[in-house]
Amino acid sequence: MSEHSNSPVVRLEHVARTYQAGAVSIPAVRDISLDIAPRVFSVIIGPSGSGKTTLLNMIGCIDLPDSGRIEVSGEDVLGLSDNALADFRARHIGYVFQSFNLIPVLSAFENVEYPLLLLGVPPAERRRRTLAMLAAVGLAAQANQRPNELSGGQKQRVAIARALVKQPALVLADEPTANLDSATGASIIALMRQMQAQFHTSFIFSTHDDHLMQQADQIFTIRDGVLVP
């Protein structure tokens, strides 16, 4: 997608997803259609069990709907094979998880470098971009530390750097401040806002955090699997 394109970065048409729990069918998302504009800070809110995470997973191409159509960065992702979908995620989508999900045996530098390895970026370029991204999130001094040597806030900064280092079209974050104290959470939100502005990336969050909602350019509310106005 071109940097100046105004086409939606995400387009969902009549998307539905039902989980089976034994003989019981649980509709998590029902007939949702939405467009998310590029280069904006979007938030999906809703009570627990409302379908936020399922919706986010489908936008992030790690879960597939039972019906409907999903377009990310102009690509109909439901037509892609498993490998093509993995490659698509590697190129276009960054993730920030609630529990940080850093790889514990890799240093902060190596965690951030990892997505570039998947894209086959040459070593020198990889090193330059990784160091620049660690500096951007304020962790240049902690580059060689392992995740267990970092605080919660520092881990989430590494996770943000890891999500952004490949300059994706879209960064998805599932309750990124849920495991942080309020001050650290606020600083993480500020950082993400700054990164979004700096890298012109679209951010989509699921959250309960009021502070995060206040930062949003676009808010989607979901309840019982459907979007509500």
Binding site: N57, I62, D82, N83, R89, F97, N101, I103
Partner: protein, 465 residues
């Protein structure tokens, strides 16, 4: 990065990985030590056979099946011409260490001197003493018996021979020959008979047959009775120069070796002297197929009624021992393989379970299923490689300790204890085979857990705690 990641991943739970690698190492140790033991047995047996019988033997056709019962009927005519052709062949000449004729014979040996009256059947061999000594020096694997210098049969014209310790024992010659571990038979009651003593007659016959100009060294004398090629009885006297202990007891109890001319005189009398066999000892056993093919080509070109046999055909015991130990080795390999397989499966299954969330994370980041599979397979292979390498080091240390431990044992085919040694497992088949085999087993053991990891759904993996 993948290698670094795999290495760090197996270092996460050090105790578990160490236990698994230790099991692989034990497998490697067991295979290499037992492999060294088996290799040494094979090498020792082969060396003993080749030192005494060479690699290839040319016989008259049919000798292998029927000749040992009547060697005189299966003599090779004009053996000097054939030996000349063999020596003149450049390809064979380059491979041959010793080329020598032998004469086999069967008969009865008797000792009727000094108040002893004993006789027994024997399997004799007439040979060229210097060739025999040369053959005894063959030690291509450095695993054979070291023969001391022995010139007892080097004079082709002396009626002098060596006998097995069993023959010496049964003929009451142990004391006269000063043979250790060789008891003297208890005195037997002398049977009352009016017939003239047979022993005096045999001795007289032997002296008449050989004349009186033979040189002697003062050893005890025995008489050998055999049948000539045309069926007439023939007899020679033999001065026993000493014993030559044979590795198989049954053979030792019947063995008599003498110079070739004496054996030929006993078998052919005044007729044309032939030989039973032409023996080829090669520089290396590996040359045997090529040498055999060349030898058979020469025989075929001359239209000779001869056949070639190798030492394996002539010594089925060797083939049986090799087969038995090979099966035991295979069985041990299978057991070790199964132990390693289950240990690695268990470890890697635990690793996959513990890292389920991480698998979901990297899959979400864009790693393909095959990438997950490769990572876990690499971890399994690494565990196997570390364990197998450590096992090789342990095996070398164990073999060094055993070889310097001063242990003795009596291997199959031997009559006396020999130093217990293990061959260094340096053959590529054993060393690399066991190393790669264990690494392969460890890698294959990782296939089910890695498939499970690769197949897991990303959202389920991310939810895993």
């Amino acid at each position: 990065m993948m290698f670094r990641l795999a290495f760090r991943n197996i270092s996460r739970n050090r105790r578990r990985s160490l236990m698994t690698a230790a099991l692989v190492a034990m497998g490697s140790l067991a295979l290499l030590v037992f492999g060294g033991f088996v290799t040494n047995i094979f090498a020792g047996l082969e060396t003993g056979i080749v030192q005494n019988g060479g690699h290839l033997t040319v016989y008259r056709s049919g000798y292998f099946l029927f000749g040992p019962g009547n060697p005189a009927a299966y003599g090779i005519d004009d053996h000097q011409a054939l030996m000349h052709d063999i020596e003149a062949d450049p390809a064979l000449h380059a491979m041959i260490e010793v080329l020598t004729p032998t004469q086999s014979l069967v008969g009865i040996a008797g000792n009727f001197s000094g108040g002893v009256s004993a006789s027994k059947t024997f399997f004799g061999v007439g040979l060229i003493g210097t060739d025999r000594e040369h053959m005894h020096r063959w030690n291509d694997y450095n695993a054979g018996r070291i023969y001391p210098p022995d010139d007892r049969l080097n004079d082709p014209n002396a009626p002098r021979g060596v006998i097995g310790r069993g023959v010496a024992r049964m003929l009451g010659l142990c004391a006269a020959l000063h043979v250790p571990n060789c008891p003297t038979p208890p005195p037997q009651p002398v049977p009352v008979s009016t017939a003239p003593p047979l022993d005096a007659g045999l001795a007289d016959l032997a002296r008449d047959e050989q004349g009186t100009n033979a040189t002697t060294t003062g050893g005890p004398k025995i008489d050998l009775l055999s049948a000539t090629a045309d069926g007439a009885p023939n007899i020679v006297g033999l001065e026993v120069a000493g014993v030559d202990i044979q590795s198989v007891k049954e053979f030792d109890d019947n063995y008599i070796a003498m110079p070739l001319p004496l054996a030929q005189q006993l078998v052919y009398g005044r007729g044309t002297h032939k030989v039973t066999a032409i023996t080829l000892q090669l520089h290396h056993t590996a040359d045997m197929p090529a040498a055999r093919a060349r030898l058979e080509a020469i025989i075929a070109a001359r239209h000779l009624p001869l056949e070639v046999r190798d030492f394996r055909e002539l010594n089925p015991f060797f083939v049986q021992v090799v087969g038995m130990f090979s099966v035991i080795f295979l069985f041990l390999t299978l057991i070790m393989g199964v132990i390693v397989l289950f240990a690695v499966v268990n470890t890697m299954t635990m690793n996959v379970l513990e890292r389920t969330n991480e698998i979901g994370t990297v899959r979400a980041m864009g790693v393909r299923r095959s990438g997950i599979r490769r990572l876990f397979l690499l971890e399994g292979a690494l565990l196997g490689a570390i364990g197998a390498t450590f096992g090789v080091l342990l095996a070398f240390a164990a073999i060094l300790a055993i070889n310097n431990g001063g242990f003795h044992w009596t291997p199959p085919g031997n009559t006396d204890p020999v130093p217990f040694k293990l061959a260094w497992p340096t053959s590529p088949g054993l060393l690399l085979g066991s190393w790669f085999g264990l690494v392969l087993v460890a890698t294959l053991a990782t296939v089910p857990p890695s498939n499970r990891a690769a197949r897991s759904r990303i959202v389920d993996a991310l939810r895993h705690v």
